[in-house]
């Protein structure tokens, strides 16, 4: 077993801030904006590394949702099209272990991963679809830690 490889069966945690979800008929619905990322590589934490929920959340008002690596990878080929609808590139979606250790402005996080595309996404519209997919997967689970309850 390679500890640096994120296996398909692994659970992944994602912190969700107030305003990035809503509740409809008692069900938590996660917004696509919960997966905003300037570099188009949304961060998640590997669950088995048992990071404290208080550290995963940036604030007690955040909730924590969960994704499964296999489901994230199920969109394994993301295609990019030009203005005429012609396929110009194909990207592979993966979950990469990117531990944060000894970074000057960030606390250590050995569980840190990124949802990345190879090659990197160059168009915003494709990343928007990826965010929709991630939000849909997260909504199936809802919160495993509700805001203010950890």
């Amino acid at each position: 077993m390679n500890p640096l490889h994120v296996y398909d069966y692994e659970d992944l945690y994602r912190s969700v801030r107030p305003g990035e979800y809503k509740t409809m008929d008692g069900k938590v619905i996660i917004s696509a904006s919960a997966f905003n990322d300037r570099e188009r590589k949304p961060s998640v934490d590997r669950a088995w590394l048992d990071r404290d929920f208080k550290d995963i959340r940036k604030s007690p008002s955040d909730g924590i949702t969960m994704l499964i690596a296999r489901e994230v990878r199920s969109n394994s080929t993301v295609e990019t099209f030009d203005g005429k609808g012609r396929k110009i590139r194909q990207h592979t979606v993966d979950v990469m272990h990117r531990p944060i250790i000894n970074y000057p402005e960030e606390p250590d996080n050995p569980a840190h991963c990124q949802i990345e595309c190879d090659p990197a996404l160059e168009t915003d519209s494709t990343f928007k679809r990826l965010k929709e997919a991630l939000a849909g997967l997260a909504t199936r689970v809802g919160f495993i830690v509700s805001p203010d309850s950890a």
């Binding site: 917004s31 199920s74 993301v78 915003d124 519209s125 928007k128 679809r129 929709e132």
Partner: protein, 148 residues
């Protein structure tokens, strides 16, 4: 948190209504009927303007307000208005989201043309459709699809 930002919503209606007497009547209808119905949306957008992480451009703001009033008008005629969930993207675009059973619509208002995404599952290729948002029939069709 108390937000002391007041949103100027007058410009969006002017550009939608045209000019002359028609504009005056449209503005009157807007002030008396639509604006009170959109008070929560205006307040939420005003809150986004003071968020430190990303700032929507004036063009994004203008387009989002214009769209909101236009959609409210159409939705009221169809009898199915519901408030959008409003957020910002990482690029400072104003994002409107609506969910209805297993369907979802997301709209993005940034510096470029507004975009839409129709979502009915999590598969990026087979369960989503995206493109440029057009007013008129394009907007009506999106709203009808969501509620069909």
């Amino acid at each position: 948190m108390t937000v002391a930002v007041r949103l100027d919503t007058s410009h969006s209606m002017q550009s939608w209504a045209g000019s002359g007497g028609e504009s005056k009547i449209a503005t009157e209808i807007n002030d008396r009927i639509r604006k009170p119905l959109l008070a929560a949306e205006y307040r939420k957008i005003a809150e986004l303007l003071i968020r430190p992480e990303a700032q929507p451009s004036s063009n994004a703001l203008k387009n989002a307000l214009l769209f909101l009033e236009n959609l409210l008008d159409r939705a009221m005629k169809l009898g199915s208005w519901s408030s959008p969930h409003i957020t910002l993207s990482e690029a400072g675009e104003i994002v409107f989201e609506w969910w209805q059973n297993d369907k979802k619509i997301t709209l993005y208002f940034g510096n470029n043309e507004p975009e839409y995404i129709k979502v009915w599952g999590t598969n990026i290729h087979t369960e989503m459709e995206s493109g440029m948002l057009t007013y008129g029939w394009g907007l009506t069709n999106l709203w009808l699809w969501l509620h069909s």
